[in-house]
Symmetry: C2
Subunit: 273 residues, 2 copies
């Protein structure tokens, strides 16, 4: 309830410091409770300040505080997608997913409340913030795929996969975070390859993307036979579909990819996916 | 604005008839406009009655009317999934998708407004209605797959696909209903097979389902080479993944599957998917 309350010292903070202190307190509360269950009194208590002080900084009350927290969360989520355009493509996706799933793990209740909708603090503004994160995720993917101008089928495929990742994240929280996060990540990466391959059979642009996917990578060293079979399948499908160059396999996904390094009090939620 | 207004005859209707007349009028308005843009005056005018009469039947005003309309829409959507458990599996899925996409087509604006969230009429109650439709869609799929007790991986896969179908429907509306509905339907069916195949490599229950999928059907007669390649791919993947019986191909999807026969004034929206 009172994470790191600064012992009521009321030390003199700059406006910017105070604002960010309040936001941090709000973020850590919104991360693990539905917005309905967080009051301004809770925020004041968590920050070790008075309620009027919270109102001085956020005169719009909880709604304004929630939106500010959400914006900070959205920033953090966008940060999850930052990945250098180097090395095989699928491991890049896997690393971004690792960071994203770490975020989901750390903001479980807030993430679920936000995405399940129907919350009292949900407005067209909060929806726009969440949708902005989804759009950012899609843009990152297009950039990594090397497609500056994706056509409607590729866009639909990528957005469908992003939505499916979101759904998977919510169900994963519901299922007590099972399967283990590494398995979930690999499963999602494989689904990405599979749905792209399906679209490749109908769309030249996507076919070229899938061909390039095969070309940049080699077999995962850390995958068992079953998973390997699926990878092979996806590639065979892609090959069969558009007679691309007979390429080598997908990239080596680091067995235990680095969880995101995330800064201090982390925010509510939003979804890159 | 005034579809089939009954010429102000104020003929004596039973309570049930009147209620359903008002609901029909509301449904046809909510189908094509965001709830924000529908007033009780509009509903009264469309039904050819006075505003107080609308209030007599729906004392909760627009919110109550919207929820009643949504419940009727949800019923209609559940109806889309009704499909006899006969014949090859994938054509059954294709027929259900045809009905669902016809519904989306007929309730475009209302469907989009409902699912995009942030509407003034959205509450945890309306969300629960929509979520009930999603759950019903999943239950139908489990039943058709012959899996009375799906494990978490199969459940996650089915729910992810349903969410992806929802996302595809929204984007399809955004893209002026392109690609043509038959193509969209086949693409979605192929994605279903592809994501199931990915999960089959990780989950025995899903592997058995995929094996059975292959076993119940024969090659689609109406599909071109590209699509055929993807189907082959999915089956090869499934075979490779769990060494199922070497089965024949998927089912024959009727070239132009029957659009759903839908009754009169149709409702707002919700999503089976």
């Amino acid at each position: 309830m009172t994470p790191q309350a600064p012992a009521r010292t009321y030390r003199r903070l700059s406006v910017e410091e105070r604002r960010s202190q309040l936001l941090d307190a709000a973020l850590s509360l919104f991360a693990h409770r539905a917005p309905e269950d967080v009051s301004l009194d809770d925020v004041a208590e968590a920050a070790g300040v008075s309620r009027p002080l919270v109102y001085r900084y956020f005169p719009g009350g909880k709604q304004q505080l929630y939106e500010a927290a959400l914006r900070t969360a959205a920033e953090a989520l966008r940060g999850c997608f930052d990945e250098p355009r180097e090395g095989p493509l699928l491991p890049r996706l896997a690393r971004a997913l690792d960071r994203y799933l770490t975020f989901v793990d750390e903001h479980d209740a807030g993430f679920a409340a936000l995405l399940q909708g129907g919350s009292v603090v949900e407005t067209s503004r909060t929806n726009a913030i969440v949708d902005g994160v989804r759009r950012a995720a899609a843009e990152h993917i297009y950039r990594h795929l090397g497609v500056p101008d994706p056509g409607p089928r590729l866009r639909m495929t990528v957005r469908m996969w992003i939505t499916a990742v979101e759904a998977a994240s919510l169900m994963w929280l519901d299922e007590d975070k099972q399967p283990p996060v590494g398995e979930l990540r690999d499963w999602l990466v494989d689904q990405f390859v599979a749905v792209l391959s399906v679209t490749a059979a109908r769309d030249g642009q996507t076919a070229a993307v899938v061909a390039a996917l095969g070309g940049v990578s080699s077999i995962r060293p850390d995958q068992g036979a079953a998973s390997g079979a699926v990878h092979r399948k996806a590639e065979e499908g892609a090959d069969a579909a558009h007679r691309g160059p007979t390429t080598t396999r997908r990239g080596a996904v680091p067995g235990a990819a680095s969880p995101a390094t995330r800064r201090g009090a982390a925010p509510d939620a939003a979804s890159p996916a």
